[in-house]
Amino acid sequence: MSTEKEKIQAELDAYNASVEKAVAKFPERPNLPEQRLYTPLDIKDTDYADEVSFPGVYPYTRGVQPTMYRGRFWTMRMYAGFSTAEESNKRYRYLIESGASGLSCAFDLPTQIGYDSDDAISEGEVGKVGVAIDSLADMEVLFDKIDLGKVSTSMTINAPASVLLAMYIAVAEKQGVAADQLKGTIQNDILKEYAARGTYIFPPRPSMRLITNIFEYCSQNVPKWNTISISGYHIREAGSTAAQEIAFTISDGIAYVEAAIKAGLDVDAFAGRLSFFWNAHNNLLEEVAKFRASRRIWAKVMKERFNSKKEKSMKLRFHTQTAGSMLTAQQPNNNIVRVALQTAAAVMGGTQSLHTNSRDEALALPTEESVMVALRTQQIVAYESGLADVIDPLAGSYYVESMTNKIEAEAWDYIKKIDEIGGAVSAIEKGYIQKEIQDSAYKWQMDVESGAKVIVGVNKFQVEEKPVEGLLRVDASVGEKQKAKLAEMKAGRDNDAVKAALAALENACKDENENLMPHILGAVRTYATLGEICGVMRKVFGEYEAHTNL
């Protein structure tokens, strides 16, 4: 065996010597990592049984299910929502008719930060980046004629995740669907909001309590629901590297598991419902390696650190979205190609569900036509490309296996650093994670500006362009419409019942041992608004104040 390695080493040395001169003539590509060729020597220390193994087998490097896409494809889940519940309901039904296999709700910013549409701070934002939801009445319209017993729904909602989940449960009740039949995900990941995405409300402690309350409530009442989607997506969008994306996110995951265990939950009672959310960025092979490394790290964390006994708890299941920040406003049709490559990365990396961005999203919300191209991209990769025909097709590639090891090692270094700081909550409070992300974002921008990193159409191969026409415009009157609907709803509800429910919620907030979910559900059923419910919690919990250092 060692003579075999020696032989490869000798041939590699000869090869390197022979090409050294030739590549020196190509000044165009000076910025690449040193190694140009990978060989068996790069993975000579990787033990197949321990580190790679089989799909569905610890440490799940090759995938979390034994069958992967030979069983069924990933869920093609398109993130959508804008304007009013009526408009968004139309888009959801269009997507379902077009073959999308799951829904993914985008909420407007007032909803994400717990304000009603008639709040002064909501002015100009209502219905802009997602649908406006003020109360159960809007939620009923949003899912009108959509069978919640059949569809799986992902909701990008964090600080007020408990309230939107309660609304979803209440709509299902009205449809005659029991909570234990509901399938879907709430993002519910507050730590990355502090670090990267910005839609926080409450300080970390009560936020972690809300999250733990949801874990507990769902494990008993909504057992098929993914209670959190621990998200690296936004950390990457904010500018992190691939290794930072998975490291910071897994550190967040560790913090959630610790909080729930501290609250008295058994790790295997909730950990199987934890899910993750990754970014599919431009460097296809690096991304595949990242997805594989993330599964391996989480499996080790759950087994070794938390002594989990259930396989389900150790399996990192993830949703993927293609990188929004990599879309260019220049020559927007090129984005179709970028998204196709990112889709290939997500699929070869073994994602459980995928949102593909549309070509026009560096300019505005996507039109129906461009959303269709994005969905078709997934379908072409699934049915035509062959990439989904075998499980983990890049396993055994000297380069991809070695890159998987490298990203894993880099991520462990960060996780250890964050442990030393006192965990993810402390690292965020001290600004460590934010600073690391900002430094990477700045380096990326400087590399683009120096030309060290080429973005086609942006700093190379530019052309004169006419402004893109036919972009989606959110009707400017949506704010007024939403306000009028809200006023009408408030006039028609039983205001005494609302007051009583809000008072009960306030008392529960003050008692740390009380699970808030039943009280929130109680308030939602009376048509108390999102702003009223979050207002009560703001009063008791206070609000988070960010300290931004440049």
Binding site: I113, V129, E237, Q438
Partner: protein
């Protein structure tokens, strides 16, 4: 005599939390020798105008990705001017469709920087237009 350094307020109006662009621009402006103050997230137009006054800045540079720019950018201009800051250069950037730009300029936004703009262009624009 040393030339007075240009003071810039980098601001995030509205509720949107995407501040990668704002922070990158803030740092690039600082590296270009400007004095930079960053407001942080979720600033109302009133807060931005007040900060511009308190910090006595030459430039207000706003970033927005949520689509609320047609409402928020002109509002900031109005409030900054109402404070008597008639010479303050006000610029904006973010995910802003080309078609919205003429109205923003009409409202007093001196320039709008869209995705893909090199930070150097922003530095040059400010140097050329600051009063």
């Amino acid at each position: 005599m040393m030339e007075k350094r240009i003071r810039v307020l980098v601001a995030k109006p509205g509720l949107d939390g995407h501040d990668r662009g704002a922070k990158v621009v803030a740092r690039a402006l600082r590296d270009a020798g400007f004095e930079v103050i960053y407001t942080g997230l979720r600033q109302t137009p009133e807060q931005i105008a007040e900060a511009a006054l308190q910090e006595d800045v030459n430039v207000v540079a706003m970033s927005i990705l949520s689509g609320a720019h047609p409402h928020l950018f002109p509002k900031v201009v109005e409030l900054v001017r109402a404070n008597g800051m008639n010479d303050t250069l006000i610029v904006g950037g973010g995910v802003i469709p080309e078609g919205d730009i003429p109205a923003l300029k009409e409202a007093g936004i001196a320039e709008v920087f869209t995705p893909g703009t090199p930070t150097g262009n922003i530095v040059e624009f400010i140097k050329a237009n600051v009063k």
